[in-house]
């Protein structure tokens, strides 16, 4: 703006002001008049107002009195928190009296609430009222108190706020309760949160809250569950029942119920849970919520099912038991019985139908089956009265059966609940036992009286039992033996042998052996011992048992026999030697005589007459027969039982050889009729045998042509040979005699009477026999057998 412009403007404004001044003076004159009038009115009004004010003050005082007399503490303060007025209750509550001391309320506020108090006060100033101010304050005695204040502003006549009034409510207790409640709620939350029971809150089947255990049990998260209805997680089993219960609860007829039902898990699995549902009602008795507690009893249920199965098994076991079972309760009615029981007592109904039957008269009814009916009844009464376990009561029945009865009373926590009878048919066992006892007695008496010494020892060789004969044999009394070590008390010569045998017993071996033992009187005895291991019921070797026979006399005889045999052998040997020596000693002079006689004939042929020559000739012949005799005796005595030289002997070859060796007159033929066998034998003896028989045959044949036929036949055990000739025959009376030594029946000069004796001896050695058929003048057949 230019300065010129401004100057012009100021000029204009000054002129206007002048005009105004003139106008105001004029107006002031008017106003003065009017003010005079107004003053009068105002004065008048002032008077009237003063009257009204007094009235108001009076009313206010009255009101003050009302406030002062109200029960709750009432305080009026200025806007700087200084108390202007307070009632008696406030004085008591705060502990201050504003009439006595200055009181500023701000100083009472707990430091934590100063900010809140400031904010609340600003709100009061703006709005004019303040509701539900809550803060912690200190009263004069420094106690903390919770207060709730409702306050309003007080205005002066110009509507300016000049003070605030408030009613204080002591909420200290209330707050503490609330805090306690909060704490309790927290604790409850912890409990609910950690509870192993699933807990769910439902409203009309809708799930609104669950605890972690519930989530875990069902496999759903809480969020998922909240989308679900109880029906969604309920399995089919007992669902209907649970729905009905819920309905009853909704209708207010049921406050709580428990049910075992199954739930379907998120994964499709099923679980059995004991569910307790309680209704939470509101003040009006309407159901607000339902609280469900769920306890997983799947395992318990399985266990229960197993228990049931095992009960079933037990029941089937009992019904098939070979023991009659009768279970009666305390009122003597039948709880359980089985088929065997019915069978034993000829009860013609199924055991199940007997359940509940009264047994008080059963004994009377069935007494007829027992040999001692009155005794049977009396015993039952006695047993029932005593209520003590009775085992193995033996009952004899009329039909010969024997039963064994057990009585077992049943007590539950000391209270008699019934009893169990069991009956077992022990007829077989009893009879067996009786038989066994009879047998035992029989054998016992045999053992006691037998002439064999019996001893039983355990594994340590300690004598357990001896019989009378053993005592007699050993010379010890029974009490000197039993309990002692057999090897120590009995004076065995072959001690080592015994130990070896005992070891064998442990291995379960039985055998017989001979021992030498010194009798108590010191005399040596021979025992034949038959030992066997002893076993217990379990088949475990527990020792051995020995049966002893005193064989001293037999043994001595045996020893004597052995000695005799040895002597005989020696003497036989000596005899054989002797035979050779004798034969040599006899043969040598014969040879000398023969030589000398020959020389006489040679040297003195011319000197000797016919008679002298004849005598010398006779002498030679006698010497020859003497020589044959000696050879025969030697051969006979040389035949022994020695089998060491047995070889395969082909009889065809033997006979051929004999044909070539011996003298066979021209007119005689020796024929083998059938091929002869080959024998295992001493060739020399067999040769001798055939040679003697063939030789005998050929020399005694006068008929022409002479024929000797050799044949053989086989029997089971023997070879039989037949040597047939058409010779002079042998008279019946000689048939036996011819086999005896030196019994010659021939009149021939060459017969010594030894040949057939040798034959007989050889056949005897081969366990054969020889006999003959002969007709004098027609021929002889010798038959003989040789054992194979």
């Amino acid at each position: 703006m230019s300065f010129k412009m401004a100057e012009k403007e100021v000029l204009l404004l000054r002129k206007a002001l002048e005009r105004q001044k003139k106008a105001r003076i004029q107006a002031e004159k008017i106003l003065e008049e009017k003010s005079k009038e107004l003053y009068d009115v105002t004065h008048h009004l002032k008077e009237a107002n003063s009257k009204l004010e007094n009235l108001l003050n009076e009313k206010t005082s009255e009101l003050d009195g009302v406030f002062i007399n109200i029960i709750d503490p009432y305080v009026v303060m200025d806007l700087s928190f200084n108390v202007i007025n307070m009632n008696q209750s406030a004085k008591e509550f705060l502990g201050y009296d504003h009439t006595i001391e200055r009181l500023n309320l701000r100083q009472l506020v707990h430091p934590d609430y100063i900010q809140y108090t400031w904010e609340s006060f600003q709100s009061l100033l703006e709005v004019g009222t303040l509701k539900n101010y809550r803060a912690k304050i200190f009263s004069k005695d420094s106690t903390e108190k919770w207060v709730q204040i409702n306050s309003s502003l007080i205005y002066d006549s110009e509507r300016k706020p000049i003070a605030a009034q408030g009613i204080i409510r002591d909420i200290t207790n209330e707050t503490e309760i609330r805090q306690l409640l909060d704490e309790q709620k927290r604790q409850l939350d912890i409990i609910v949160g950690n509870s192993p029971l699933g807990i769910a809150l439902t409203v009309k089947g809708k799930i609104i809250k669950v605890n972690p255990a519930f989530e875990k049990l069902l496999g759903y998260s809480e969020y998922e569950l909240k989308q679900l209805h109880v029906a969604d997680i309920t399995g089919p089993e007992r669902n209907q029942e649970s729905i009905q219960l819920i309905e009853q609860m909704n209708e207010g007829r049921l406050d709580t119920f428990s049910i075992v039902k199954n739930y379907i898990r998120k994964d499709g699995g099923s679980l059995f849970a004991k569910t307790t549902v309680s209704a939470v009602k509101n003040k009006d008795g309407k159901v607000d919520y339902q609280v469900a507690l769920i306890e997983d009893i799947t395992k318990e249920r399985e266990a229960e099912e197993q228990l049931k199965a095992s009960e079933n098994r037990l029941a089937s076991l009992i019904s098939n038991l070979q023991t009659g079972v009768l279970l009666e309760d305390e009122h003597r009615t039948i709880s359980l019985t089985n088929q065997m029981f019915c069978d034993l007592f000829h009860i013609p109904v199924a055991p199940e139908t007997l359940k509940g039957a009264d047994c008080s008269n059963a004994a009377q009814e069935h007494m007829k089956y027992f040999k001692d009916p009155t005794g049977f009844v009396a015993r039952i009464e006695e047993v029932l009265k005593a209520r003590k376990v009775v085992l193995k009561d033996e009952l004899e029945m009329v039909d010969g059966r024997i039963l064994e009865r057990d009585y077992i009373p049943i007590f539950n926590k000391g209270i008699y609940k019934g009893h169990l009878w069991t009956y077992q048919d022990v007829t077989l066992r009893k009879n067996y036992k009786r038989n066994l006892e009879a047998q035992k007695e029989k054998y016992g008496s045999i053992i006691a009286n037998m002439n064999l010494g019996l001893i039983e020892v355990d594994l340590e060789d300690t004598i357990q039992m001896v019989n009378h004969s053993f005592c007699k044999m050993s010379g010890f009394a029974e009490n000197e033996l039993v309990g002692q070590k057999a090897s120590e008390v009995l004076n065995l010569i072959e001690r080592d042998l015994l130990e070896e045998k005992n070891k064998k017993r442990l291995q379960g071996k039985s055998d017989s052996y001979e021992v030498r033992v010194a009798h108590k009187n010191g005399r040596m005895r021979h025992w034949l011992v038959s030992g066997a291991p002893r076993y217990d019921e379990a088949g475990q070797a527990v020792g051995s048992i020995g049966i002893h026979l005193d064989i001293t006399e037999q043994k001595q005889l045996e020893l004597q026999k052995e000695k005799l045999l040895r002597e005989l052998e020696a003497s036989n040997q000596g005899l054989r030697e002797y035979a050779h020596i004798v034969s040599h000693d006899l043969k040598s002079p014969l040879r000398s005589i023969s030589a000398l006689a020959s020389w006489l004939v040679e040297d003195y042929k011319e000197v000797l007459d016919d008679s002298g020559l004849f005598n010398l000739q006779q002498m030679q012949e006698k010497v020859e027969s003497m020589d044959r005799l000696i050879s025969g005796i030697l051969k006979y005595s040389s035949i022994s039982q020695d089998t060491s030289e047995h070889t395969q002997v082909d009889l065809n070859l033997v006979v051929n050889e004999i044909r070539e060796t011996i003298f066979i007159p021209e007119h005689v033929k020796v024929v083998i009729m059938n091929p002869l066998p080959t024998l295992l034998a001493d060739r020399t003896k067999i040769y001798q045998l055939f040679q003697n028989l063939i030789g005998n045959a050929v020399v005694h044949i006068e008929a022409d042509p002479g024929l000797v036929e050799i044949s053989s036949e086989e029997t089971k055990k023997y070879w039989q040979f037949n040597i047939k000739d058409n010779g002079i025959g042998i008279a019946k009376e000689y048939h036996e005699k011819i086999f005896k030594i030196f019994q010659s029946i021939g009149n021939g000069e060459r017969s010594t009477g030894i040949g057939l004796s040798i034959v007989k001896k050889i056949i005897d050695l081969h366990e054969g026999t020889i006999w003959l058929d002969s007709t004098v003048g027609q021929g002889t057949t010798f038959h003989f057998t040789l054992k194979k």
């Binding site: 050779h580 020596i581 040598s588 040879r591 023969s594 030589a595 020959s598 020859e624 040389s638 020399t684």
Partner: protein, 133 residues
């Protein structure tokens, strides 16, 4: 040949002498009455015989005992020894062959048979090559 005859029986000795002279055989016979005598002859520095004729049954030292000693001797064991005996005992025969003999002649009963046998034996040994000392 030089023949050592060991024989206790005089007649037996005569039989051999008679046989040798009768058949006009050129053999000289040395006689010993028993085993001991024979051994002392054999141990003497004289020439050894070509063959020995030995009887078994002799008093004191038997023929078999003598035979054992001879056959155990390094020098004498080469001498052919022929047993001349009446013993038909098989045990004797086996024993003799076992120890070592050059023949086993059973003395026959008849002198003629004896002559025959001895002639055979002596002519047999006569044609043999003999161990000369």
């Amino acid at each position: 040949m030089n023949i050592l005859l060991i024989e206790d029986d005089t007649i037996e000795t005569m039989k051999l002498q008679r046989t040798v002279s009768k058949l006009q055989l050129k053999h000289s016979i040395i006689e010993a009455k028993n085993g001991e005598e024979a051994l002392s002859l054999l141990q003497a520095p004289n020439d050894l015989p070509d063959i020995i004729l030995l009887d078994l049954n002799m008093p004191r030292m038997s023929g078999i005992e003598f035979l054992k000693i001879v056959k155990a001797d390094e020098k004498l064991k080469y001498l052919p020894t022929i047993v001349l005996t009446t013993s038909e005992n098989r045990a004797d025969l086996l024993e003799c062959y076992k120890i070592g003999i050059a023949g086993y002649i059973i003395k026959p009963l008849k002198y003629e048979d004896y002559e025959l046998k001895l002639q055979t034996v002596l002519s047999y040994w006569n044609i043999n090559e003999l161990v000369k000392a």
